[in-house]
């Protein structure tokens, strides 16, 4: 049961256990974390599950595909070098403890 640590816009931290194979977005929405909107449901089509990945975890993720890069151009909060769509981050045992910060807005 790998964990994800969400750093919320009000600086609180919320640690949530997920299952390998689930996306960070799915874990967030199942836990009722409202800062992840995920309108499109995980198809990389809406840019409303934007997160900032803790830089020490960033390099362990696979590089974004073209459709994710296109959507990262569309984020409501500023796009930073560690911006990713949480629907495209699939949890694995190696990612246990991954920390992501949730931006102050998604739309």
């Amino acid at each position: 049961m790998p964990d994800v640590v969400f750093e919320l816009p009000d600086d609180r931290e919320q640690r949530v256990s997920g299952r390998a194979g689930e996306s960070v977005m799915q874990i967030a929405t199942a836990a009722g974390i409202t800062g992840i909107v995920a309108e499109c449901g995980g198809s990389a089509m809406c840019a409303t599950c934007h997160v900032y990945v803790d830089p020490q975890w960033l390099e362990r993720l696979s590089t974004p595909l073209a459709n994710e890069l296109e959507m990262l151009e569309c984020t409501a909060a500023e796009r930073l070098p560690n911006s990713r769509l949480s629907c495209q981050i699939k949890l694995t045992a190696e990612l246990d403890g991954i920390a992501v910060r949730i931006p102050d807005r998604q739309q």
């Binding site: 929405t29 198809s43 840019a47 296109e70 151009e73």
Partner: protein, 399 residues
């Protein structure tokens, strides 16, 4: 068929008039019968009615292809009624190229550019509706709005746009069987196909609109100039009848649930989630098909190559395995993961535009009307794929 002996069979015709008129009891029977089903009247297909399997099929484009058509007809066995769509009825690598162009033109960022115009049109239309007081929610609002703003954004001329309704009706009927519903749709359509293709030519499109941007992508070498008109056609097939019924179904849902409408009126910022919930609760596109590209499995049950797979989107969206209290219309639900706009690489490419239209119409309504009341029985327009209303008599009570 020995290898499919574990798959339950039901004697159900999803395209029978009574099931089209009220699909929900059928959905429940299909979900209860198993993760994968056979339907006696259609031996060429298997059906999935639960969320888990529908979502899995839509997200596995390697095993479940679109190039053999996304309706009942199998293009490997019979020719399509029109030249195949280069995005809807295509697989990678062709789909990857065309999809990239359409995704960019319709991206959330591009949609911020049209928000002001779409909002102003919604506000003006709702002013007119409020002045009338009693309206036909379909004719005066749900149909009028997308038919104005979306072809305008594509850059299509403003005359004879009712043809787009006839064409959309036919496109979605043609995804079902050759039944009475389809025959009547084909009769009504007449010579609309050449009309549509003329409107897709570059010289007929407003420079800078979505349609013209397709031709610019062809100029840039991303797609060919031969592909451009067919991609413009995709805007016109998929972008009008869908949002009309999305808005119409949302109005009907809100009219049937005054307590939910009261929440929306009190807080018009709920317009966008309310539209989303309406998509889940009364899904515009009820069904889509895939075709197995090879022998494969769904939930451990074997399905042979070249089998049509019926994905019951609207049923998945009310699956109690996925949604608590699924039949309840709750505008504060966060129905992320519904499949009303599909899922995976073929998920609706225009979904940012669709949501914008729903949001600004419901916002404009919520600000002006404190109540919306049904003042007569609505009538349905039966379509093999779409959940559609023909007339929706409403009274709008000013705030």
């Amino acid at each position: 068929m020995n290898e499919t002996s574990q798959i339950a069979e039901l004697d159900i015709d999803p395209y029978a008039a009574d099931n089209l008129a009220d699909p929900y009891p059928m959905h429940q029977r299909m979900r209860e019968a198993g993760p994968v089903l056979r339907l006696k009247p259609y031996p060429s297909l298997v059906a999935c009615a639960r969320h888990e399997q529908v979502h899995a099929v839509l997200n596995d484009h390697e095993n479940f292809i679109s190039g053999a058509g996304v309706g009942l007809s199998n293009f490997n066995l019979e020719p399509p009624w029109r030249p195949k769509s280069l995005i809807l009825e295509a697989d990678p690598p062709l789909h990857t190229r065309t999809r990239a162009v359409l995704s960019r033109i319709l991206s959330p960022k591009a949609v911020t550019q049209i928000r002001a115009v779409f909002t102003a049109e919604a506000e003006a239309l709702l002013e007119r509706c409020m002045a009338k007081g009693e309206i036909d929610g379909i004719h005066d609002l749900a149909r009028r709005y997308p038919l104005k703003v979306f072809p305008d954004a594509v850059g299509v001329e403003s005359d004879e746009r009712e043809n787009l309704l006839l064409y959309g009706d036919m496109v979605f009927n043609a995804m079902g069987p050759r039944n009475e519903v389809l025959a009547r749709s084909a009769e009504r359509m007449g010579p609309v196909t050449p009309w549509i293709m003329e409107r897709c030519q570059r010289e007929r499109l407003r420079p800078g609109g979505f349609g013209d941007q397709i031709y610019q992508a062809a100029d840039a070498g991303e797609i060919t100039h031969e592909q451009a008109p067919l991609l413009v056609r995709s805007f016109l097939s998929a972008g009008v009848d869908t949002t009309i019924n999305g808005i119409g179904n949302a109005l009907f849902a809100l009219a049937q649930h005054p307590e939910e409408y009261a929440k929306l009126h009190a807080n018009p910022a709920l317009a966008r989630p309310a539209f989303e919930e309406a998509l889940r609760w009364e899904s515009t596109a009820q069904t889509f098909f895939r075709t197995t590209g090879r022998d494969t499995m769904i939930s451990g049950l074997p399905v042979t190559e070249n089998t049509k797979v019926l994905c019951m989107l609207a049923s998945a969206n009310r699956d109690p395995r996925k949604w608590p209290d699924p039949d309840r219309f709750d505008i504060e639900r966060r129905p992320s993961g519904h499949v009303a706009l599909g899922s995976g690489i073929h998920g609706c490419v225009g979904q940012a535009v669709a949501r914008l239209e729903g949001e600004v119409v419901l916002t404009a309504l919520a600000r002006r009307a404190k109540r919306i009341e049904l003042v007569g029985a609505p009538t349905r327009r039966l379509n093999n794929t779409l959940r559609a209303i023909e007339t929706l008599p409403l009274r709008l009570v000013a705030a």
